[in-house]
């Protein structure tokens, strides 16, 4: 078991013929992910590397292949359109990798998604991986840009706002022989589709997830919300890390959402919320896996 995706999930790629989309489609195919379709308007009828059929529209691809998930690699100025196209085609999951989407576009996207069944992951995220049991965790489902080989099939759920910091934590687990159920990147933007809390709830309900790692960073109150819920309802051990204790207020630290503004979103406040909720806080990014394993 896992959350959101598994080895049966059929995935279509929006922006499959772009450089970035093509590179990661190849890696996902090699990992064993069921990439069943690509979307590049104007290239419908062609095939990606003689394998994956390309369509002009998401609805066509869904009808022809039964895809239920999409991953978006299109440039920022086209991303809002791509997300809403996926949502209106009735997909269950849309994973948006694209970075630098204007916040206003995402405000409108979320408004347009109201009442729709689609879950959006991201934008500005590394994607989602449910490891398989082959070598280098192949045979699972890799959607996005995470390196597949750092994973290992197992029972820890990982939720994070950052890419490489997630790889760091996942790699720490794998090197200790501890596998993951699913690793979810929720993205570093101020407006995103899925929150820490959404992911933690799914992990809590997933019988195959036995422990949770939640990685946050400065900005917003997503970590605090998740912590408040965990305190009351979570039945599984949770360890966390918050990046940005040394970040100055008022400056955006790389991620559009990583900013302390109006005195809100500090690392200190998030760490305090974690501690109050009984979440074990890793003292450094090197201790994330260890901190969780001590609780197990």
């Amino acid at each position: 078991m896992s959350i959101l995706v598994n080895s049966d999930t059929k995935v279509l790629v929006q922006g499959i013929t772009g450089h970035f989309g093509a590179q990661h489609t190849r890696l996902s195919l090699a990992y064993g992910t069921q990439i069943v379709a690509g979307i590049t308007p104007g290239k419908g009828g062609q095939r990606f590397e003689d394998k994956v059929p390309i369509f002009n529209k998401v609805t066509e691809a869904v009808e022809a292949t039964g895809a239920t998930a999409a991953v978006i690699f299109v440039p920022a100025s086209f991303a809002a359109d791509a997300i809403i196209e996926g949502v209106n085609a009735g997909l269950e999951l849309v994973v948006c990798i694209t970075e630098f989407i204007p916040a206003k576009d995402m405000i409108l996207v979320k408004r347009a998604m109201r009442g729709k069944k689609t879950r959006l992951l991201g934008p500005n995220c590394p994607g989602i991986v449910t490891p398989g049991d082959g070598p280098g965790s192949q045979g699972g489902c890799r959607i996005g840009i995470s390196p597949g080989y750092i994973h290992k099939k197992g029972h820890i759920g990982v939720a994070s706002r950052s890419g490489t910091l997630t790889y760091e934590a996942v790699w720490q687990l794998t090197q200790r022989g501890v596998g993951q159920s699913t690793c979810v990147g929720i993205g570093g933007d101020p407006v995103n589709g899925t929150s820490h809390l959404d992911v933690v709830k799914m992990f809590n309900d997933d019988p195959d997830t036995h422990g949770i790692i939640m990685i946050g960073e400065i900005g917003g109150t997503s970590e605090e919300e998740a912590a408040a819920w965990i305190k009351q309802y979570c039945r599984k051990p949770v360890a966390g890390f918050i990046a940005g204790a040394t970040a100055p207020p008022g400056r955006r630290m790389g991620h559009a959402g990583a900013i302390i503004s109006g005195g809100k979103g500090t690392a200190a406040a998030k760490i305090a919320a974690f501690q109050d909720a009984g979440i074990a806080v890793a003292p450094t990014p090197s201790h994330i896996a260890e901190t969780l394993l001590k609780l197990m």
Binding site: I101, K104, T164, W171, V191, F241, P248, R251, G263, T284
Partner: protein
């Protein structure tokens, strides 16, 4: 990106939001001439406001001794004399740091006869993913202070982005601030204009503090007396007019240089520089330097692949900061393998001539090979197998280095 007060008032003006009559001037003579016009129109006092991207101007001090980045003058000669001291002067406020900011423009405005002050802001409410209009009767105070001391004095109205701020919501806020009669309507109209200015320009924050009720010859009116505006960098591509307002003199030269190479660099005041791939890991690396007793000199994300040309540019920028006494490179080789990354780092380090201790930590695919390449190179660079080891090594090396 931030803009100056006078530029924000210009944008607000395009949406019908009134501010005192004023003009930005870059010479004392221009300031005097415009002030003269205002005096001739019957204005009794004129205010000179230093234009810098930092708050606390009123209580700031110029390095030449002049107190106050906001000066009120009673005649044109006084305007000329004060402007001469302010323009080209360096203003230090509680937000500029001790180095201060050079003032190149003054906003010369008719001084208002202020009866009441309010706070008004439009920003993104991250909890709801919607725009939010925020008002308070405690104008003139910093919002952080109001939020801490009198949170009940802050009123928030969440906006449905499908329809924008509705007039009834604007009226609700105006009533809450105590507006009545004709003033209720003019204040509501002002709120709608402020919201439009925020929305249509892809602003991230538009803060009016204070919004004032002033006494004018024609009666009472609401005016924007000070405005602060910043923009969503991701949306600047569709606002060339706003991009043209960028004032490079307000930005750190190293940060401007970094942006040319699409490097995300933020200068801090420590002495251990770091170079990392990914924003979250970059923040975490700064944190671990502090955890071991060091102080980070910067935030720097070299991007996913950490390619040679990026690394070379990054080393140059890092070393452009005279405080830097050591460098920690922390790369998680995900898609790109660590031996390739090690080659790039070594090639860049060879090209640059790095004269401070350098510790490199690589993790991910082929990390062993990469770390071995670093350890065995002829350059003065140490490798580390874990981030903990890397951070403690660089903190120690810097503590032991001369100076």
């Amino acid at each position: 990106m931030n803009i100056h007060e006078y530029q924000a008032k210009l944008l607000l003006g395009r949406h019908g939001v009134p501010a005192p009559t004023g003009v930005a001037c870059d010479t004392p003579l221009k300031a005097k001439d415009f002030a003269q016009e205002l005096f001739e129109q019957g204005q009794r006092r004129v205010v000179l406001k230093a234009q810098i991207h930092a708050g606390g101007r009123g209580k700031g001090t110029f390095k030449n001794g002049l107190k106050g980045g906001v000066q009120i003058c009673g005649d044109a000669e006084e305007v000329y004399e004060r402007a001469k001291k302010m323009l080209g002067g360096t203003l230090v406020t509680n937000q500029t740091g001790p180095e201060g900011r050079v003032v190149s423009h003054l906003l010369v405005e008719a001084a208002s006869d202020i009866k009441k002050e309010f706070y008004l802001a439009v920003l993104l409410d991250r909890a709801t993913s919607r725009p939010m209009v925020m008002v308070s009767t405690e104008g003139g105070m910093e919002i952080e202070t109001i939020a801490r001391e009198k949170p009940e004095k802050i009123l928030k109205e969440i906006v449905d982005p499908a329809v924008g701020l509705m007039p009834y919501q604007a009226r609700k806020l105006a009533v809450a601030l105590g507006f009545t009669g004709d003033m209720l309507h003019s204040a509501s109209k002002l709120f709608l204009g402020v919201y439009q200015t925020w929305w249509e320009n892809d602003a991230s924050l538009l803060e009016i503090n204070p919004l004032c009720v002033v006494e004018q010859p024609g009666g009472k009116a609401s005016l924007v007396v000070d405005a602060k505006m910043s923009f969503d960098d991701n949306a600047l591509y569709r606002h060339p007019d706003i991009l043209a307002m960028r004032d490079l003199a307000e930005e750190s030269p190293l940060e401007i240089e970094a942006s040319k190479y699409t490097l995300n660099y933020i200068k801090l005041d420590g002495n251990i520089a770091c170079m990392v791939n990914g924003a979250g890991l970059a923040m975490a690396t700064m944190d671990i330097i502090q955890h071991f007793g060091g102080r980070p000199a910067n935030f720097l994300d070299v991007g996913g692949g950490a390619k040679k040309e990026h690394v070379t540019a990054a080393f140059k920028i890092i070393l452009g900061d005279p405080n830097v006494r050591g460098i920690l490179v922390n790369i998680f080789g995900g898609i790109m393998q660590c031996d390739i990354i090690a080659q790039g780092i070594l090639a860049a380090a060879r090209e640059i001539d790095i004269n401070v201790p350098l510790v490199v930590r690589l993790a991910g695919a082929n990390a062993d090979i990469g770390n071995k390449m670093i350890a065995e190179s002829d350059l003065k660079v140490a490798s580390a197998s874990s981030l903990t080891e890397a951070a403690s090594k660089i903190v120690q090396a810097v503590a032991q280095s001369p100076k």
